[in-house]
Point group: D2
Chain length 449, copies 4
Amino acid sequence: MSANSAANSIPHPTVIKVDPFVPADKQKGLHNRWHPDIPPVASVKPGQTFKVECVGMSRVGGALGVQAYDRISDWTGGQIGNNDSSDDVKNVDLTKVHNLSGPIAVEGAEPGDCLVVDILDVTPFEKMPWGFTGVFELENGGGLFAREFQSRACKAIWDLNGVFASSRHIPGVRFAGVSHPGLIGTAPSHELLAKWNKREGELIAAHKDAVPPVAYPPEPIGTHVGQDLPKEVLERIRKEGARTIPGREHGGNCDIKNLSKGSRCYFPVFISGANLSVGDLHFSQGDVQMSFCGAIEMAGIITFTTSIIKGGIEKFGLKQPIFLPSPVDPMYSQKLVFEGLSVDINGDGKQYNMDAYVCVAVNRTVAYKQAALNAISYLQKLGYTREQAYLLLSAAPIESHVGAIVDSPNACVTLAVPTGIFENDILPRPEGLLKHNYGQCAIRSDGVL
Amino acid sequence: MSANSAANSIPHPTVIKVDPFVPADKQKGLHNRWHPDIPPVASVKPGQTFKVECVGMSRVGGALGVQAYDRISDWTGGQIGNNDSSDDVKNVDLTKVHNLSGPIAVEGAEPGDCLVVDILDVTPFEKMPWGFTGVFELENGGGLFAREFQSRACKAIWDLNGVFASSRHIPGVRFAGVSHPGLIGTAPSHELLAKWNKREGELIAAHKDAVPPVAYPPEPIGTHVGQDLPKEVLERIRKEGARTIPGREHGGNCDIKNLSKGSRCYFPVFISGANLSVGDLHFSQGDVQMSFCGAIEMAGIITFTTSIIKGGIEKFGLKQPIFLPSPVDPMYSQKLVFEGLSVDINGDGKQYNMDAYVCVAVNRTVAYKQAALNAISYLQKLGYTREQAYLLLSAAPIESHVGAIVDSPNACVTLAVPTGIFENDILPRPEGLLKHNYGQCAIRSDGVL
Amino acid sequence: MSANSAANSIPHPTVIKVDPFVPADKQKGLHNRWHPDIPPVASVKPGQTFKVECVGMSRVGGALGVQAYDRISDWTGGQIGNNDSSDDVKNVDLTKVHNLSGPIAVEGAEPGDCLVVDILDVTPFEKMPWGFTGVFELENGGGLFAREFQSRACKAIWDLNGVFASSRHIPGVRFAGVSHPGLIGTAPSHELLAKWNKREGELIAAHKDAVPPVAYPPEPIGTHVGQDLPKEVLERIRKEGARTIPGREHGGNCDIKNLSKGSRCYFPVFISGANLSVGDLHFSQGDVQMSFCGAIEMAGIITFTTSIIKGGIEKFGLKQPIFLPSPVDPMYSQKLVFEGLSVDINGDGKQYNMDAYVCVAVNRTVAYKQAALNAISYLQKLGYTREQAYLLLSAAPIESHVGAIVDSPNACVTLAVPTGIFENDILPRPEGLLKHNYGQCAIRSDGVL
Amino acid sequence: MSANSAANSIPHPTVIKVDPFVPADKQKGLHNRWHPDIPPVASVKPGQTFKVECVGMSRVGGALGVQAYDRISDWTGGQIGNNDSSDDVKNVDLTKVHNLSGPIAVEGAEPGDCLVVDILDVTPFEKMPWGFTGVFELENGGGLFAREFQSRACKAIWDLNGVFASSRHIPGVRFAGVSHPGLIGTAPSHELLAKWNKREGELIAAHKDAVPPVAYPPEPIGTHVGQDLPKEVLERIRKEGARTIPGREHGGNCDIKNLSKGSRCYFPVFISGANLSVGDLHFSQGDVQMSFCGAIEMAGIITFTTSIIKGGIEKFGLKQPIFLPSPVDPMYSQKLVFEGLSVDINGDGKQYNMDAYVCVAVNRTVAYKQAALNAISYLQKLGYTREQAYLLLSAAPIESHVGAIVDSPNACVTLAVPTGIFENDILPRPEGLLKHNYGQCAIRSDGVL
């Protein structure tokens, strides 16, 4: 009897399998460079549902303090543990980053097509139901407030319980995840890759001595392709392969929280088979993701289906991916909104507005930081430490909007905190705010903050 | 019989009345400078519901091309008409801007308190059920793409029909307004005003020759206080009064679309009575409000109620206003999302990333512009002109989010267009996009674009 | 100069004007019967935006206790006052109900067409910013719990403040209105009217002695047509005109809260011009509207635009109206949900389930009542009186859903109360519920409950 | 190193394991009666996250045509297959239904407490990524329209792809699941059980000859307790155990679609340990669930955490469970709404309204059916068959609301179909509806409909 039913119950195939407890460079099916000559490690048909396993990928690097971005952080290999000390974050060896699962060829995809990718699900490994958010040391990673806070390592471990995340390091909050891949994209063509290397090379050349570097050129050391390749092919990849740090025209490291499970993405196809790669799964992330590892980083499984729209690049004027967000975004409709202005970021009352072109842009970052500081200050009134607030605003489904960009000299940026993620009432009340003791997140064993 | 019912039917009082067809500087109850010595023109009790009428206030000025911000645009006085030519925009005399209704004293509010302001409604005048969105000439106002587009004047007139706006100049769209005041705030104390003037003055001094100016100092010419004042008081206001262009710690010109009808705002109180002022009503606005007059500007009526939280500044750590958005924001849940990267804004393929501190900020503006250009390009495939798309993305309930700020050298910014505002299906389809003929928005009578 | 702007600012025309303080039967443009021979009192063109004024129309009648439905409640004429006693409700003279504004002809509409009606706005009169919700006496109107509660008259007066309603009679709550017409429809053809009269006549004949009557036949007394008509036409209308109490194939008295401002409705057209009529405006209503006058009844103004789809009845298989709800429904995403079962409605533990066909239906009503009683009981724990809770659950944006209809003998119905409408936290907490003193709603001057 | 990380990665324990391909009565940990003497098969601590596996449980029985409810449908044991014929539905042996996983004791829960149950996730088995919706034969199960449609067996197999369901039998639709347990509850005390048996027994006695029966008394045959018990205990359970068909005060078979993953439930506790049981998982369901097996039935895994509120029954007046719906309900904001009236359900134009008490209730069911028929008729204009439409409206996230219950003789019920679940545009357009060929669902091999 059940033979019939069991027989016609076919699980969705897992086309790339990885072990989250083994270093990425010891595993097949992972790579950390973008290059058209990395052959697909799996192939799927349009319309097929399939799963891809991903190792944990810490959100490392950044413009405001990273010392060495050219290194991996295989924290799931044991560097960052599910424990109550941030010493592992303090001492993390930032080496080879962004191990992507792939490439995966989609049969029939040709340059000029649009590859439609449905992100059907994003879940942690059943055997690893936790993730982390970290602030890195000023000297070893940094973060948005690296300088203002003179950042010392701290972290929060998040328990992933079905649709929710909660943390013993940040009590009193629980929120539904908008789980998504931080990094997803199709492979570049040789032409596109050359264009990237040219423009980024020029930028680097123009800012030779910048610390941190303004961009990262191809780097043979640490290049990993996850398969055996002829020597000359491997050499070419090591020499030309684009780093995975920035997002580019093919997608890549976008860290868009709304690209969550249930979303449909439209990618341009640059080579035969499209060669899709994915990694850096986040259980949740706020807009901006302000601390160094601001999302809830996790190892896990992503489920896809694909289809092809022939000639889609031309049909849709597809210069970069476009997407339709998921219908299952959490509905935290009530929000408490903080504003920020482009003044006084260092407590000196200074007015920012540098020159005609740059001013607005800088203002917006200063304004965003002020909004974040205002929110942190409010959360401190409720009993959270500055470190807890910083981590929470990075990882929870925070929304940030820009009011307008033409009200010189001040930009106005908002940061919206959903009230429904808090166990206790956080609304402003005539009697003031009720302060709880929420302890502290994981800090260094020497107690230095 | 009805005597009874009629007698106990008491309309909400209108505490400031204006005529949208009369120049602002000829009217009482309007002012265009922030100064603690402008006496209240009305007084209300906490808990009282009251209405305030506002003249239309064009969104003028901006960092990227404005030549003269020190001028009014009393378009409701006839400069910008409900017609089909943009000559009025081309020739607009940008002189005295931001005529605010107020100040309104709230009985019992004292420095250190928090003034809770409920925005109960925002509607156009019944006799003026229309508004406009404009792109200004490169040489006379500009806008976000002033340089890229070599902007020439164009505009769209919006018919305001109950909860919806639609435009004969941008056919095929209709959307529910998130009506809000672009500008609202409490009066500064003398100390706070001095602080503003100092920091803005230093900025101006440091950028003496900037075009457009980086900020605008107090300016006696054009100062309007809407009431008769002793000469020495008027002179002080003219000499010290802060311009209304930027938002500041008291609120001010924030242009936050989510501060819409139904929202509750928490303002810091700096002087006795709080002295609330409001103006620049928008029927709708997208995040960022990218064209020069990017919102749907309207004259109209705002309804308020207030309460006071004693000592609220200390209770909530209130450095700037915080607010709770309205529960009646339009629910356009399906959105088409465009990404942008910080490259190639001028078509030269250039990579942006200037120096260690500024890069991220500039990248974000470049990235936002690229996202906007990608959206404009898509809308053109549907049949809209570049000008129509530019106006539409400014005025409709567009959402813009920042993915992350640490993926050097590229920032990734998204711009989300709700599909439900379009009459026709705009989703990417295998067969491509269906192009309609939507005509053109209002342009110059000489036809120059 | 402003001559221009003022001249091209044309208000939306008001095609029917009424005075909420004058009895309906003394006014032109109002009628209280459905009949194809009532000529239009106004005519509009497709695409035109126009306003219609409506008198207040109490929600009277009902199946569970009404004694006389054939009577008017012109409360706005003074019967129900904005005061703190429910004596007016107790003594209300229920005579001629449902005074509709109209008919309004739409040029070009023909039988077989679909009349698309956009409800652009629904607002109270500026001079009458209040409404009421009432529970009527068991013997004079009743309500869902008329028998269980041995209902005595009580009421709540609601202050309508912009998008919000609040009541001195039910402190601690404030909610955004889903304002809508309780009653809207096109005129029936002679054939359709005959069909109604036949089927309703048969029902009445089969249940001759039912108290209250199962339906109401045409009744010459009290018939009002709002215009001078030839005597034989008037006689025909008085003799045949369908009562406005039930909804029918043309729309009519549907009391659908989601048919709110911003909705688009598709009505079948039965006669030339369609002859649209509207009335019974509600500022807000919960699903089911359980007390006698369960919505927030108001006099006010509704704004429309229309279009015609030729042959729409056939194109869409339009047996009854269909509609698209508004995009601006309030977003109270967090809800506390109560269940009800079809048992024990009288405290006797009895199981309901009568016969094979009827059981499910009765179960659902019993189950709904149990859910409502469970919610009332919970609200009483918070400090509301039973009367306040009853009124609140009728008027606030409550949602009610049916789980399934096949779990014999019990049906399961849910009633969802949005938590965001309460000033204080109402969630179940480990420490229990905090009870406030919310006083009492307006009751009879003799104090009888 | 990774030893560390692997070691502190502890999966959530699965406290009850079942095999969906083995008949329920051959498995431990499943039971199909409610009785306080069924001992817990697992025990958990408050605060612990744990998983429970459930077999597929077909939604069988019902008031409108079921012949024998006292039988199992272990379709997952092979009766209902993932194939393209409905012969398995036609010939299904409806015997022992509702196999629940449990009971699960929660340490410390005592009578009078409130058991807080968080439904953290609900997923299908990885090895069985499909479910089904069925209409059963008029003579063997039936459904809401069993008589009107003279129902013949048909079904749709749904592929469960991450957050979405789609079906080869109903092409052109895809929707996000609101996955939930159809059946969940705490164990009754002896007193409560006796009360149930008494009231249901009285009902049965009063309707002895009803076909189908109005309720189902305890039945020794088919009783399954999933564990070895002393003979006298087993006999008692067989003799007294309440059937799982209806929902009752402890929860039970509620089929509430909003009780979905992410919801928090508050159950009354009647015996020590609370003894929670769960089953009948649904990937998705519409309000009402109108066909016989109207949800998407699936076998799968539910994840829970619990806490205890001491004395919660008294604290919250907990007569039945209350719950907070999940923040991750799908956001299909645009809906097309159909109305129904209580007339003409058999095409004879008859007006329903039986007697003073019953009328409203019956009207509502007739009205609901009319609304459903109107929606089915519309879907047929788009190209769906009646059977496809019937299945789709049962399984998709349809919302049904009741307008008001006092507009005698007609009730008005609405049924809202989210437009976003359709691949093609389904809105009413001036040019009419575009009809596609969507084939047919799985029907009988003899082709009889």
